[in-house]
């Protein structure tokens, strides 16, 4: 693993930046037109203003350059999301009850996107399918002072359009606590729900049909691990099948887009709707006895010591970022059944989560969330190539 960016490297960007520690958990990364973009949010306690910069990475020269100064976001803690919809790069910024969406077609100039009433949506959940954007509506929760996702799926022709509800709340199940993940798989929209009473569910819908869509339940009861499989952490489209990790969300999970899970299992979902346990415990089910095809139980056979941080397809391999007793692990597999450690590395501090796991033309980019004493920790971004 080669570090492409550290707190020290960030400091080389400019004197102003040197003075401001990075709010890593508020920062975001995406790939746009073959280039890696980073929205780095800073906190300047003395000035009381959240601010930041959009940076881009030149893979050839291995250098970063600042391309855009983020607008000031007031004195409250801010968060960012970067995402690509169609041929445009989007940046959303939330601070207090303020929400801004910015759009760029060249990665350099950004213009504010006017949002329709109740049109605040989760950019990092956005899935483009059938000429429409699908996402989850965001609602500002006065009590927690945070934007929270509503458990229903909405769609719009573009980001400024009026969003239409394409599902009922919780897919019609009051015990579905939230929409855990959205994913395009072929031409079909797949959705996983988190359910702390019966275990996660997976549903699918054809987004080319009239709204609200007709949803088909694909998986129930956490693939019969029930509440030991409360939620789905990641989907990954890999070699013609949809893979996902499921388990119990950790207490430390603070951001829905990077859910860390305990007793983590890996499931393979076929386009037919059939499924197999790849890593996890054997179980009885209405579709037959399931044994883990990798030969391993949950968490690479250490279910109570291992937390899965991320699942991502990159190149011809599927990767799982994990931590075992505080030690970071990155595993890879060409067939999702035969796994081997991809890298061996140690971080200064316990890896608590994986903020970003992104497949790029120049390697797998990872931004781990590392436990540090300071509220605003160093921003660490790694490239695995």
């Amino acid at each position: 693993m080669v570090s492409v960016m550290t707190a020290q490297a960030l400091t080389e960007i400019g004197p102003k930046d040197l003075e401001h520690p990075v709010a890593q958990s508020a920062s975001s990364v995406t790939l746009f037109q073959g280039t890696l973009f980073l929205a780095a949010l800073y906190q300047a306690p003395s000035e009381g203003q959240a601010c930041g910069a959009l940076l881009k990475y030149d893979a050839a020269s291995k250098t970063w350059s600042s391309v855009y100064a983020l607008p000031e976001m007031g004195g409250q803690a801010a968060t960012s999301s970067l995402g690509v919809i169609g041929d445009a790069l989007y940046l959303s910024l939330a601070a207090g009850d303020k929400f801004q969406l910015l759009c760029s077609h060249d990665g350099a100039t950004f213009t504010p996107v006017p949002l329709a009433e109740d049109g605040v949506f989760s950019l990092n959940r956005a899935v483009s399918l059938s000429g429409k954007i699908h996402s989850l509506p965001l609602l500002f929760d006065e009590e927690s002072g945070e934007w929270t996702e509503l458990p229903l799926i909405v769609a719009a022709a573009d980001t400024a359009a009026v969003w239409e509800e394409v599902s009922t709340a919780g897919l019609g199940d009051v015990q579905n606590d939230s929409i855990a993940q959205l994913s395009a798989f072929g031409d079909t929209l797949y959705v996983a729900t988190a359910n702390a009473t019966r275990g996660f569910q997976v549903w699918k819908a054809d987004p080319s049909t009239e709204v609200p869509y007709t949803w088909t339940q694909v998986l129930v009861n956490g693939t019969f691990k029930f509440t030991a499989a409360e939620t789905v952490a990641n989907f990954a489209d890999f070699k013609g099948n949809l893979y996902f990790t499921s388990g119990i969300p950790t207490v430390s999970s603070t951001k829905l887009q990077s859910v860390e899970i305990k007793q983590p299992e890996l499931i393979r979902l076929y386009p037919s709707g059939e499924w197999d346990v790849i890593m996890g415990s054997p179980r009885y089910s209405p579709s037959g006895f399931k044994i883990p095809l990798s030969g391993m139980g949950a968490g690479f056979d250490t279910p109570f010591d291992t937390t899965f941080l991320s699942l991502v397809a990159h190149g011809d391999k599927l990767y799982i970022a994990a931590q075992n007793g505080g030690e970071f692990q990155l595993w890879s597999s060409k067939d999702a059944e035969d796994w081997e450690p991809a890298v061996e590395t140690e971080f200064e501090g316990k890896v608590m989560g994986m903020q970003v796991a992104l497949s790029t033309p120049f390697g797998l980019v990872l931004m781990p969330a590392i436990e540090q004493e300071e509220e605003f920790n160093s921003l660490e971004l790694f490239l695995c190539s």
Partner: protein, 300 residues
Amino acid sequence: MTELLIILSPPRSFSSVVSTMIGQHPDLYGFPELHLFVGETVEQVMVHHKHRGRPQGPPGLLRTLADLHDGVQTTDTVLKARTWLDERSQWSTKKLYDYLLEKIHPKIGVEKSPVTVTTPEFIERAYRFYPEASFLHLVRHPVSARKSMFEFVDRKGKSAKLDPATGNAIDPVRLWYNTHINIINFLNTLPLAQGTRIKGEDVLSDPDLYLPQVSEWMGIRTDKVATEEMKHPETSQFACVGPYPARGGNDGKFMMSPTLRPGKVKEPSLMDALEGDMNWAVKEGFAPKLIKLANQMGYQ
């Protein structure tokens, strides 16, 4: 293929009917309740039963010995078995169990003694004796298991266990909870695939779907002929009341009516029960952990 299938289940959790069904597989031999893991020696097992009002020892064990020694269970063969057992009171229970397994060879034994799960000590003894055994965790909805326990107490004219601290009767759902925790704590220490969990309601509601899955897990025949035999627990030699002085060995209700009843087994609502006669669990703060455990098993 396993050396022994040990079914871990609290009392009143379909263990008699499900264990007998599994034991009817052509490659298996379903024992009645042997109760051998309660002690290290035969003498200890006999003393354990004597203290519980069964001076003749475990009826299931006596019936098994009668069946294996004489091919028939009568008062005479049971008394012969009792004498045989007395002569071997210094045998370790492991030696006795090995003896039984040798007698049924090449069939594989199916062990089910609800008493085994009442303490971690008994479960650990079972594992120490048979570390290669397969362990099947059989579960039943807590509300229906509790109701069945109450019916059992009424039928037997027994009084419920009392809490030494308060003098109040202990609700049987606490036994349900504690025994399942014992089982889960043990199963969590096992290698992958050595232990699995199955809902009794699933087996009884859809035996054609779930019985072959149990066979598949055990690595034995999964064909329709084998499954059909498993669907007839009433053909077991232990699916009836035994001869005096070993009339038991299985659940009394099952022995009176051992034929599998077709149809879906309904699961009651835990939430309704907690608003009703289990409301004490809410008041005493027991409800959250009960709900959590029930949810883990797929019960609402």
